[in-house]
């Protein structure tokens, strides 16, 4: 069936209107339906961002059960560095600065879990400069895991080599661990 408005595109929407007991039916395509105002979209459709802010607001319904005092506390959660408030963050879905992660830390775990399929920890790249101590830590952790596996499979010769690597690392760089401020 073709659209009754433009007679070009196929009709995909069938609208039934009842005004003063008068029933009218229109078959119309999406483009014409938008023009005629039968359907409306928010600006540029429904974005991932809308979905997200929806997710962030999931604890809203809990708020109704909170006391006045608790409510104020929630509202006042604000980043000391950039001034972003938690309610604004939920609205725009964006952090204002790196420090926001700390400022809102108590509220973020469930959000990360929702957005990242239950994950809350980073397992990837470590920046060279910001994380020189961290890289060493990670290297040691990897070696220890490798060592454990080698011992379990009784590959003792290999295991000894890995053990020596761990010792060398531990001897060489004791300081970075202590200097790790992040």
């Amino acid at each position: 069936m073709e659209c009754q408005e433009c007679h070009e595109r196929p009709a995909t929407l069938h609208v039934k209107q009842v005004i003063n007991d008068q029933e009218t039916k229109v078959s119309i395509c999406e483009t014409c339906a938008k023009k005629k105002g039968y359907i409306t979209y928010p600006e540029e459709g429904y974005s991932l961002h809308d979905l997200l802010t929806g997710l962030f607001n999931f604890d809203n319904f809990n708020m109704t059960n909170m006391s006045e005092n608790q409510l104020n506390q929630v509202k006042e959660l604000q980043c000391s560095k950039c001034g972003m408030t938690f309610s604004k963050f939920k609205q725009v879905g964006k952090f204002g600065c790196a420090h926001c992660y700390e400022s809102f830390a108590s509220k973020l775990e469930p959000i990360f879990r929702r957005v990242h399929s239950g994950n809350t920890k980073h397992f990837g790249k470590i920046p060279k400069r910001a994380g020189s101590g961290l890289q060493l830590k990670k290297q040691l952790k990897n070696y220890r895991e490798e060592l454990q596996q080698l011992i379990e499979t009784e590959a003792f010769e290999e295991a000894a080599k890995v053990r020596d690597k761990i010792r060398a690392l531990e001897k060489g760089d004791k300081e970075p661990e202590a200097g790790d401020e992040s």
């Binding site: 879905g93 790196a98 992660y101 990242h116 990837g124």
Partner: protein, 354 residues
């Protein structure tokens, strides 16, 4: 301005190289989101701070070369005309979001257009690298090297447990989005793709059409990318994505073989009709153009159409976009004027092949 070739040529230089499986995978991309540790993010930062960041990149990196990414061109978005902005978006060198934030935004592009660094987008820094065909691992390796090079001069916002701290919680952790652009005409024709998309989504990956709106994928071109950035390393994310892409490639090949065997003459007819439309039409809408271009590309891949370069899909898809047409005409065009120019550009482009 030396910006000229970025704007004039529909094909980026790297697209002329052959990549693995590039009859189906058009390109692989890695994007890394990074921020300065001590500067407020672009959505809240004061104008002077954002200007400082832009000046910093201009001073430190303009015309610099890193390995094969030569002579970075520095472009302030506010210096561009509206048409130039749309062309950069259509070539995927910048995001639509970057050109909307034009006051402080900038981009650095290498001469081969393989690397672009967006400045003051949603994050302070977004590095993206493109490779022809399916080369995610290679792209990741190169992206890491490039990232290290930038990091020599920038103190990144990073946390031991949360990783790279991005403006949007959907990017935190690796800050990485890996994606591939795939041409999947046979899976679309047989409607198999509709069944595969939900399955792929369950693996933390997203499938969407790049051109066109909503669920339809103009030109049967799909983008598959990772959704999750926490809990998995970049290497694992890329490996998972690659294994799904490899399966899609296999299914697409099987479906192509099946259609050829079962309805070879109908397929040949469809392909040559589309070829005819592109060669002779005088008015063509972008939707019809995309469909015909996809058919012709399939014809090339299956050896039905000979003596025509496979790059035609990439090239014509960009060439026939509104911004590109207007830059070619050197004026703004309304929709029907665009349809006429589109038809004429396609005709001329196809003539060059024979």
């Amino acid at each position: 301005m030396s910006l000229e070739h970025f704007i004039k040529d529909a094909l980026s230089p790297w697209m002329y190289e052959q990549g693995p499986d590039n009859d189906i995978v058009m390109s692989s991309r890695i994007r890394l989101a990074r921020n300065f540790a001590t500067v407020t993010y672009p959505i809240l930062a004061e104008h002077e701070k954002l200007d400082d960041i832009r000046s910093f990149f201009k001073k430190e990196y303009e015309h610099q070369t890193f390995q094969s990414y030569k002579d970075l061109e520095f472009v302030s978005i506010k210096d561009l005309t509206p048409v130039e902005k749309s062309v950069l978006v259509e070539k995927h060198l910048v995001s639509p979001h970057l050109v909307k934030r034009d006051e402080h935004a900038a981009v650095m592009i290498s001469q081969n257009e393989q690397v672009s660094v967006m400045i003051n987008e949603e994050d302070h820094i977004r590095i993206q690298l493109y490779f022809p065909g399916l080369q995610l691992k290679k792209a990741l390796e190169e992206a890491f090297h490039f990232d290290d090079w930038i990091e020599e001069k920038v103190n990144y916002a990073y946390d031991e447990t949360k990783g790279y701290l991005t403006s949007c919680p959907t990017n935190v952790g690796t800050g990485m989005r890996a994606s591939v652009m795939m041409h999947l005409p046979a899976l679309s024709m047989t409607k198999q793709i509709n069944r595969m998309i939900p399955a792929i989504s369950q693996l933390g990956l997203v499938v969407r059409g790049i051109y066109g709106e909503g669920s339809e994928a103009l030109g049967n071109i799909f983008q598959i990318s990772n959704q999750i950035t926490l809990g998995k390393s970049e290497k694992d994310i890329v490996a998972d994505l690659e294994s799904v892409v490899n399966q899609l490639i296999d299914h697409e090949r099987v479906a192509r073989g099946f259609i050829m065997k079962r309805s070879g003459i109908e397929l040949e007819d469809r392909i040559f009709r589309s070829y005819g439309v592109l060669q002779y039409s005088r008015i063509i809408e972008s939707k019809e153009a995309a469909k015909c271009i996809s058919d012709v590309r399939l014809g090339i891949d299956l050896g039905i159409i000979e003596n025509t370069s496979g790059n035609i899909l990439n090239e014509l898809m960009v060439l026939t976009q509104p911004g590109f047409l207007q830059q070619y005409a050197n004026r703004t065009l309304n929709a029907s004027e665009r349809d006429v120019l589109r038809a004429s550009l396609i005709r001329e482009r196809l003539k060059l092949e024979n």
